[in-house]
C-alpha cells in the first residue's frame, strides 16, 4: 500500500464544523478523498414532522448554525406559499434588513475564516470583532445573539426597536470605512495571494456537473445567478444592487466576490432603511389557538439566497397541524459531498483546509 490516510476533521483546527474529510495521500498530493458527514445529524426532518407549524419556529434556525435567519425566511416563505397569504409591506423590508445583516455577519465570519487555514490570525480577530457588533445589533432587535426566531410565517415577530436605525447606520459606516483595510490585510496581502491565486480552481463545467450554486457558481459562470435577482423574494426587486461575478474561479476570486457582496449588502440595508414604510409587521396565519392552526394540503419548494447559494425547503402539508414532510436542501450539499469526492483529489494537503473553506462547505446543513 503506497497511500497514507490523513483526516481533516472533525477534531481539527482546519475544519470548520463537525465533519470529517478522509484523504488518501501520496507524498503530499491527495489521491482519493471523501467527506464523512453525519456527525451533526439531529434528525431535523423527522423532528419538524413532530412539531406543529408554529412550534417549528423554534427548531428551524438550528438547521444551519452560522446562518439561522435564512432558515427562518425559507420556512416562513414556504408556509406563506402554502397558505397563500401576503405579508405586510413593512415586514418585507424588515426581513430584508435582517437577511442582509445576517449575510454581513456570515461574510465577515467567512472572510475572517480564511485567516485560519492561511494562518493570518490578525484578520480573523479583526473580522470577528466587527461581526460581534452585528450580533449586538441582532440582540437589540430580536433579543438574542444567534438564534433569533424573528422571521416567522406571516411577517416578523415584532417591530424594530426605536432608534435601531442609528446603530445600524453607525455600524455600516464603520464597516465601510474599514473595507479598504480589510482588502489590504486579506486578499491583497502578497502572502495570501501566494496561497490563493490560481489554486483551488472551480471551472464552469464542474459547476454544472455538481450543481454548485452561490458565489462558487457566479465566480465561475460570470452571470448574475443569484436567487435575489433571478426570482426575487421579499422586496429585492425594489432595491438596487449588483451581484459580483467573475469568469475565473480561483480561491482569490471567490473571496473577492465575497468581499464585494459585503459592500452590496451595506448598500441594500441602507436602501431598506430609507424606503421602509410604516405599518403592521405581522398577520395571523389562522384563527383560534395557534397550536391548532392548520395549513392546506400541498407541496411547496421555497428558496432563499444564502451566503453559499440556493438554500431551499421542500415542504409538504397534508392539511394537518403538523408539517407532513420538510426536506432541507443545504446550499453546500453538492460541493461538500460530491465535490470533495471528485475534485479535492489532486490538490495538496496544504490546500485542503482552504479548499473546504473557500468552497463554502457548511456541515450542519449537510447533516441536518
Amino acid at each position: 500500500m503506497q497511500e497514507l490516510k490523513l483526516f481533516l476533521g472533525p477534531q481539527h483546527p482546519g475544519m470548520h464544523g463537525n465533519a470529517s474529510v478522509h484523504m488518501f495521500v501520496e507524498g503530499d498530493i491527495i489521491k482519493r478523498s471523501y467527506l464523512l458527514p453525519g456527525m451533526l445529524h439531529r434528525g431535523f426532518e423527522k423532528g419538524m414532522e413532530r412539531h406543529t407549524w408554529l412550534n417549528n419556529i423554534g427548531l428551524i434556525p438550528r438547521v444551519c448554525v452560522v446562518e439561522p435567519d435564512i432558515n427562518e425566511m425559507c420556512f416562513a416563505q414556504g408556509v406563506e406559499t402554502l397558505l397563500g397569504i401576503e405579508v405586510p409591506e413593512r415586514a418585507h423590508w424588515i426581513r430584508m434588513i435582517i437577511l442582509e445583516l445576517a449575510r454581513l455577519s456570515i461574510h465577515m465570519m467567512a472572510y475572517g475564516g480564511i485567516g485560519g487555514p492561511t494562518g493570518l490570525y490578525t484578520l480573523m480577530y479583526h473580522a470577528h470583532a466587527d461581526r460581534n457588533d452585528i450580533l449586538n445589533i441582532f440582540e437589540k432587535i430580536t433579543g438574542h445573539r444567534v438564534y433569533h426566531m424573528y422571521i416567522v410565517p406571516g411577517g416578523v415577530r415584532k417591530d424594530l426597536p426605536v432608534g435601531i436605525e442609528k446603530d445600524i447606520h453607525q455600524f455600516l459606516d464603520s464597516l465601510e470605512s474599514r473595507y479598504a483595510e480589510y482588502r489590504d490585510l486579506g486578499i491583497d496581502n502578497p502572502t495570501v495571494r501566494a496561497r490563493t491565486v490560481d489554486t483551488i480552481m472551480l471551472p464552469e463545467s464542474v459547476v454544472w456537473e455538481l450543481g454548485v450554486t452561490g458565489i462558487g457558481m457566479r465566480s465561475a459562470v460570470g452571470k448574475e445567478y443569484d436567487v435575489r435577482k433571478v426570482m426575487p423574494y421579499a422586496r429585492y426587486d425594489q432595491v438596487e444592487f449588483t451581484v459580483p461575478t467573475n469568469t475565473y474561479s480561483d480561491a482569490n476570486n471567490r473571496i473577492d466576490c465575497k468581499l464585494q457582496e459585503i459592500l452590496q449588502s451595506i448598500s441594500i440595508i441602507r436602501q431598506c432603511l430609507a424606503k421602509m414604510p410604516e405599518g403592521p409587521v405581522r398577520v395571523p396565519l389562522g384563527r383560534g389557538q395557534s397550536m391548532r392552526w392548520t395549513v392546506p394540503k400541498g407541496y411547496a419548494y421555497s428558496v432563499v439566497e444564502s451566503s453559499r447559494g440556493e438554500f431551499g425547503y421542500f415542504m409538504v402539508s397534508n392539511g394537518g397541524t403538523h408539517p407532513y414532510r420538510v426536506g432541507v436542501r443545504g446550499a453546500s450539499y453538492p460541493q461538500g459531498l460530491l465535490g470533495i469526492e471528485k475534485y479535492l483529489p489532486g490538490t495538496r494537503i496544504d490546500d485542503a483546509a482552504l479548499w473546504v473553506d473557500t468552497m463554502g462547505v457548511c456541515s450542519p446543513e449537510i447533516d441536518r
Partner: protein, 189 residues
C-alpha cells in the same frame, strides 16, 4: 503555629502541596480542545477573539487532544460524534476537564426526542461544569470557564478521576447507547 518544615510533612501532605501548586498553574492556563461538536460552537469565536478575549484568562484553543486540558462539548451530540468524543476524551492527558455547553448536554434540550442525539452527556463522560442555555451567551460561556477555574481551585473538578475509577460503569453506558464505541466499517479500514 504550625511548622512548615519540609521534613515534618508526611508524603501525603507533600503530594497535596505539590498538587495545589499544580492546580494554580492548571487553572491559569486552561487549553481547550478545538472540537466544535455542535451549534454552541458558534459562540466560541466571539469568546476566543477580540470581543471577549479568552486568552486573558490564559485560555486558548489547542489543536490536538494530547495538548488540551478542557474538552468543550459545545451542544448536542449525535451518536457519530459521541463515539469520536469518547475516543478523543480518552486520548487527552490527565488532569482533564469537560465543560458541557447548552441544554442539549444536560437533558437533550430541543432534540430530546431525536433518534440521533443523546440526552444526557454525563452518562458517557464525566462533566465538570454545565453551562445552560440554547444557546448560552458568550458571557455565560465565559462565566462557565471562570466556574471551572473555581472548581479546580476547590478541588471539585475531578471528573477525570471519576472516569478512571468508574470506567466500567461509563463503558457500560457507552456500549448500551452506541452498540460499539469504536466502529469498524468501510470508512475505517
Amino acid at each position: 503555629m504550625k511548622s512548615t518544615k519540609f521534613s515534618e510533612l508526611s508524603q501525603e501532605q507533600v503530594d497535596r502541596k505539590w498538587w495545589e501548586i499544580g492546580d494554580f498553574f492548571r487553572r491559569n492556563s486552561l487549553w481547550m480542545l478545538m472540537y466544535c461538536t455542535g451549534c454552541c460552537a458558534i459562540e466560541l469565536p466571539p469568546a476566543m477573539t477580540s470581543a471577549y478575549d479568552m486568552e486573558r484568562l490564559g485560555m486558548g484553543p489547542m489543536a490536538t487532544p494530547r495538548q488540551a486540558d478542557i474538552l468543550l462539548v459545545s451542544g448536542y451530540l449525535s451518536l457519530k460524534t459521541l463515539r469520536r468524543l469518547i475516543y478523543t476524551y480518552e486520548q487527552m492527558s490527565e488532569p482533564k476537564y469537560v465543560v458541557g455547553l447548552g441544554s442539549c448536554t444536560i437533558n437533550g434540550g430541543i432534540y430530546h426526542d431525536s433518534h440521533a442525539v443523546i440526552n444526557q452527556l454525563d452518562q458517557y463522560v464525566p462533566v465538570d461544569v454545565y453551562v445552560a442555555g440554547c444557546m448560552p451567551n458568550t458571557e455565560a460561556v465565559m462565566n462557565g470557564f471562570v466556574d471551572l477555574m473555581d472548581a479546580i481551585k476547590h478541588k471539585t473538578a475531578n471528573g477525570w478521576k471519576k472516569y478512571r475509577d468508574n470506567y466500567d460503569w461509563y463503558r457500560q453506558n457507552q456500549i448500551a447507547s452506541l452498540g460499539e464505541v469504536e466502529v469498524h466499517d468501510e470508512f475505517h479500514e
